[in-house]
Symmetry: C2
Subunit: 316 residues, 2 copies
Amino acid sequence: MSATPATPPPFLASPEAYAELFDSVDTFLLDCDGVIYHGPVVVPGVKRVLALMRARGKKIIFVTNNATKSRRMYKTTFDKLGIEAHENEIFGSGYASAVYMSRILKFPADKRVYVLGEKGLEEELDSVGIKHCGGTDPEDRVFIPSMDFSYFTPDPTIGAVLCGFDSGINYKKLGKAFSYLRDDPNVHFLLTNQDKVFPTHGTFYPGSGSLSAPLVFALQGKREPTIIGKPNKPMMDAIIAEHQFDPARALMVGDNLLTDIAFGNNSGLRTLLVMGGVTHKDQIYGDKPSDILPTFVVESLGDLAVLDGQPAEATA
Amino acid sequence: MSATPATPPPFLASPEAYAELFDSVDTFLLDCDGVIYHGPVVVPGVKRVLALMRARGKKIIFVTNNATKSRRMYKTTFDKLGIEAHENEIFGSGYASAVYMSRILKFPADKRVYVLGEKGLEEELDSVGIKHCGGTDPEDRVFIPSMDFSYFTPDPTIGAVLCGFDSGINYKKLGKAFSYLRDDPNVHFLLTNQDKVFPTHGTFYPGSGSLSAPLVFALQGKREPTIIGKPNKPMMDAIIAEHQFDPARALMVGDNLLTDIAFGNNSGLRTLLVMGGVTHKDQIYGDKPSDILPTFVVESLGDLAVLDGQPAEATA
């Protein structure tokens, strides 16, 4: 801990403060769960705020570390919640991984990716024309009765191992992925994100970072993974490869200091923390504030709805 | 790296050096794979050395981090290899975990352990009368189609989560184990061992430490596991609880600096490194030696067979 505490960021609470910030931003990068909705419940006011952004010509990019859903699946989720969103505005860590592999790694067309992940991740690889195996293939979602991999013939076309959240994690997959990484230093090692946990049903369970931990641990000292998702740079590199925007007039909005706020800070963007998600106020304004602080804090993104000039009780 | 290199340990290679060491030891703690055998092949000379130890009244303790086999199963393995061994001489990290829970934690009789592990680990818990669930139960060796744990009713009698090597690792088990540890700080968190990899079929695959990494990672900063196996103290505490011996006249023999040699060193025992296992000579005698050094080095434990006075070509 530094002896000199950092100046705590301003807590915006007035229409004037909201307006000043809103007018200074052309591009809003928005975390989804905790900012736009909590599970099945849309955050009050947020629909009005999004409508206002569109009315004022702001660019919206939905940025999420969840790699289990493709943009198509996210669009369906937004539709069900009654939130206007377009596929090309959605940037999950699965799509970011696919874009990163395609545009930045220039992943060869004759190579394949061994996937630990769900259907949504496979869809995004398909969308950029990257061939893959593993993933949801039932043949790899089985238990092996012993540690015997003698049946296993390594596929020489594998050029990368990509790990996301995989509810079908098992020893066969871990062993195969490990053997590709163990045997060939040219096989890329990528994680969609390294979230410890994910929130669901009012609690939380092991997240993508935890499910890739066996490979990271087993290869420690030998291979370092490239981590795509927030707070890491590859996610921003992938977003910028698709959406050109002026960082000086962009704002990253999120509820998580370690992912969202660090992500914006690491890329030189201003950041806005919303409360009511995973961060407690004393992590910002307490005696021992976090090392990672946002530029601004608001109670909720929905509070900016007052800027639309409609009565406060207008339909959310 | 220290500017002053540590004095490299003596490399014993003469019958006189072997005899001096042998005579100074009453209790031999022997790692198994890499010292006694390599998979299905007994190390040449080792049977003669073990016979000599017995003839001279030495105490033998086989110490292995492998928690997938019980002492009973190990006995069968030794029998097949034609090596004399007795169940009470065998100390795997599964049995050590059971002994640690029973004797040191005084695990309550009305509580149960949620197990990530194999049959051998369950057998050892049975042997000390500790109740358990999870493990090889087919109900917990399934894939769950989503991250929905709403069907899951936590068992209030769970008092510990014990993780070993589990070829049936899956998200249901990880989620259940995580929820017990997340919800109750009184639930013990134990790992049989933290080996990154285990050697098999001439290569290696993710080990116990890698398979427990999801829980360790997900709980980082919230819960620290107690790690039983080599090089950690609980394994030695459990061995000493069963086998009283004079540490000054004991010797830990192993092929792995990070587990075997550190284990002996941490407990104030002399240590003997055998080559031909996982350690390379330049880790001891090279320009940048390991921070962990044994007291002595020999090429192979089998080389001590010359001490039995029989012709070198005597049956191994």
